[in-house]
Symmetry: C2
Subunit: 469 residues, 2 copies
């Protein structure tokens, strides 16, 4: 009997374990997870903190018991793998009062990512949080609950964000204007906090187009989130507890700080075992997610993936890729070699009452480095027929290669419910298949007055870009 | 100076005229339109009848004055073209008390479609309507207004559809369960009518998948629309006014009937001029929309198009194709030969509180005739993350070619607002590019909890179909 060992029990790890066991029930599948939670939806944590989800258990799609009993997977929570020996084909895991050595025929490293620790003084003060794990989410929610109970501390004129509470609290600081920063601004404002968001760069959501960033920034402003751009946070000041965010220019009093400045891959274990890392710092793999060590795979937030546009290895730690690559490894290990496909760097975010998505290659320097001559245009169009009683505005940014017209990337933003995110599905296909923008403009996309104008905004964008190149 | 003459002033005609004049301002552009309305959104008529749009003018995107003054197009409304002479390169148009002969260098036939007249007795009774033109819309709206004013005739227990009125009226009959039938059921029910819908076939929306048809049928039932399937309407009985719909099996008393049994191309003029029709009965063209007559083009609801999956000429009279092909002809005539692209038969519809879209080739007989070995599967999936507070269900049907996995067609249905229509954008690309379903299942589609599950329902469908072939 062959043994498949998985290190890490979240999206990539449990997808691989489940798929391998389903495809080959004779396979012994052992998963080591150092924590107690497995297969949880970390993407849901902002909504748990916001209060729209009532218990952490709701974020768990399959419980440890279900993995063990229904899927016949030897899942060992509370087991931290401390060593991989690729010569002996063993891993060593430490658990409460003991150590176990497990041999493998196939191994998947799915150790995920950890929050980046930015060079800021005072990160260890109380009242400073990150949001990477279930226990982070629990602590934040408890903080929010406590603050709400003693909620008469401050009653600033909160405007539309302060919709769920009579008494507003705060102020609080968010360091980082990426997905987590923006989603947590919504979660905290909805609980009545006065939110100050500090972004080092010159725009929020910097992976999106400038036009999308601007639209989201305008909306954050409408929602009374105070956004500080170009703000290099130097210290989280205070005594025991954090009391202020200090940048080069100012000192903003706060009662709590959330640090959401991105993640980096957890690679210590792999690196110590001689498994090669790529230039991005994540574990390098081939198209089957196999590392330089034979029969050792890496997938999810600890590993690189190949960009569908540039063909280069990239580090884009997102949930779907972890699931998809994990599943592909499971299928491979069970006997059907399977590539999990590339990544387009597609991402979606809701920020209060706007939604946005991005895909492909938008950055001109990156595009040029990959041999393209990038051209970017943004159009603004009605989200539904002009005469239809509901509706809003969709802004579509397209980046194309000027000589060939190839669609390299896109970014969309609209009011929440007006379809920026689902419309991006059209662009993912175009980006993945290397479709030229004139061909995209001829796509026979669905039309009816409640859903778009005769030319969907995506088509209008394609026509406009094609006309300017 | 070269002259471009256009016969018919709706979507295809005005798109061509506008594009040609914009690209080549020296071109003389003459449009003959027999009615008074040009460039109107006929797709909006159900919402005008429903009462969500207040005036017919709102459906007009560009007025005749704007075409004449801002776009410098010689638009002649009230001019019916009665003859085309392809040898002399002239058209003859009849107008109030006169006739004009106009020569052309390029000609576009954009005569549109007319409502099918099914073999039913009594179509000429008063109270029998169709919904093809602006004047049809006006008459229907006036009927609805009159009925509402005398609205105490009947007060049936209308249920959820009867939401806008205290007094309900009717009953009314709809013959045909396609887009118009379904949209008008919503429009009439919203005005308090008891609606009886008669469909000859065994399901509504027969161009969609069976699963989509079933979901829409269930919803029509929830909305108290009485749907009669397999109902061959034989007569609209009554004296002067219609009083009942008679099928082989029953007689249903009604006060009004809307006949929406599809359209057929208006080809009399073209056929009389020796312009070839295709097997579908619509005007045959090449990829540039040029007919067998040199420099004579045909586009929009009077013309065939090429199906992107089967490669065969098809007749799919829909708004986007008319706009796109009209625009392409304008571009060609202005000096840049332009193919307008094929059609995927993509369509979208809102029916009360559900939305649906379809694209590509779903019919197994059609697929087999084109050399494919079709396989169809339907999945049901959550429209958003399971833990997210809002959300519903998306049902996705995929039809693929079993040996190659090529995606041939798809059909989606969800609650209104849960994204069936915009998600179909992903499938249009797959169908158009000939993508295999295993490749589609690896697409890096946008994900965030407010918008989908980690695997969007489209991806889940692709995985499931790929697993069964």
């Amino acid at each position: 009997m062959s043994t498949f060992v998985v290190v890490g029990g979240d999206a990539a790890g449990m997808s691989a374990a489940s798929k391998a066991k389903r495809d080959d029930p004779d396979l012994e599948v052992v998963v080591f997870e150092k924590g107690e939670w497995v297969s949880y939806g970390a993407c849901g944590l902002p909504y748990y903190v916001k209060g729209e989800i009532q218990s952490l258990e709701e974020l768990v799609s399959v419980t440890p018991e279900q993995f063990r009993e229904e899927r016949d997977i030897d899942l060992r929570t509370g087991h931290e793998v401390v060593d991989i020996d690729t010569d002996d084909r063993t891993v060593t895991a430490r658990h409460d009062g003991g150590e176990v050595v497990q041999s493998y025929d196939h191994l998947l490293v799915a150790t995920g990512a950890r929050a980046v620790t930015p060079p800021i003084d005072g990160l260890d003060r109380s009242g400073v949080f990150t949001l990477g794990s279930m226990s982070d989410g629990k602590q934040l929610r408890e903080y929010v609950a406590r603050a709400r109970e003693s909620g008469d501390l401050q009653q600033p004129d909160r405007g539309p964000a302060c919709q769920f509470l009579e008494n507003c609290t705060g102020p609080v600081g968010i360091v980082g204007g990426g997905y987590i920063g923006v989603e947590m601004a919504e979660a905290l404002a909805a609980n009545g906090f006065e939110v100050h968001l500090f972004q080092r760069g010159d725009r929020v959501l910097k992976q999106f187009s400038e036009a999308t960033s601007e639209a989201v920034l305008d909306h954050l402003d409408e929602q009374d989130v105070r956004v500080y751009l170009g703000a290099d946070v130097e210290a989280l000041a205070g005594d025991d507890a954090v009391a202020a965010v200090e940048t080069a220019d100012e000192r903003v009093p706060v009662e709590m700080v959330l640090v959401g400045t991105g993640v980096r891959p957890r690679t210590d274990l792999a690196a110590a075992a001689g498994i090669e890392l790529g230039e991005t710092g994540a574990i390098a793999t081939d198209a089957y997610r196999e590392t330089n060590a034979p029969d050792v795979y890496a997938a999810g937030d600890c590993a690189e993936a190949t960009h569908v546009v540039t063909g280069d290895p990239v580090y884009v730690p997102l949930a779907l890729t972890a699931n998809r690559h994990g599943r592909a490894v499971g299928q491979t290990v069970a006997g059907t070699p399977t590539e999990g496909g590339g990544v387009a760097g597609t991402a979606a975010v809701k920020a209060f009452e706007v939604e946005a998505a991005r895909t492909g290659c938008l950055d001109h320097d990156e595009a040029r480095a990959a041999g393209f001559d990038p051209l970017t245009e943004t159009i603004e169009a009605k989200s539904r027929a002009g005469y239809y009683p509901e509706g809003g505005t969709v802004r579509v940014t397209l980046t194309v290669d000027r000589p060939t017209g190839r669609v390299l990337g896109g970014s969309l933003v609209s009011e929440y419910g007006e379809g920026a995110v689902h419309r991006s599905h059209a662009l993912v296909g175009a980006v993945t298949e290397g479709v030229a923008v004139d061909e995209l403009s001829n796509y026979d996309l669905a039309y009816a007055p409640p859903f778009n104008t005769t030319w969907d905004p995506v088509l209008t964008a394609a026509k406009v870009v094609d006309g300017t190149r």
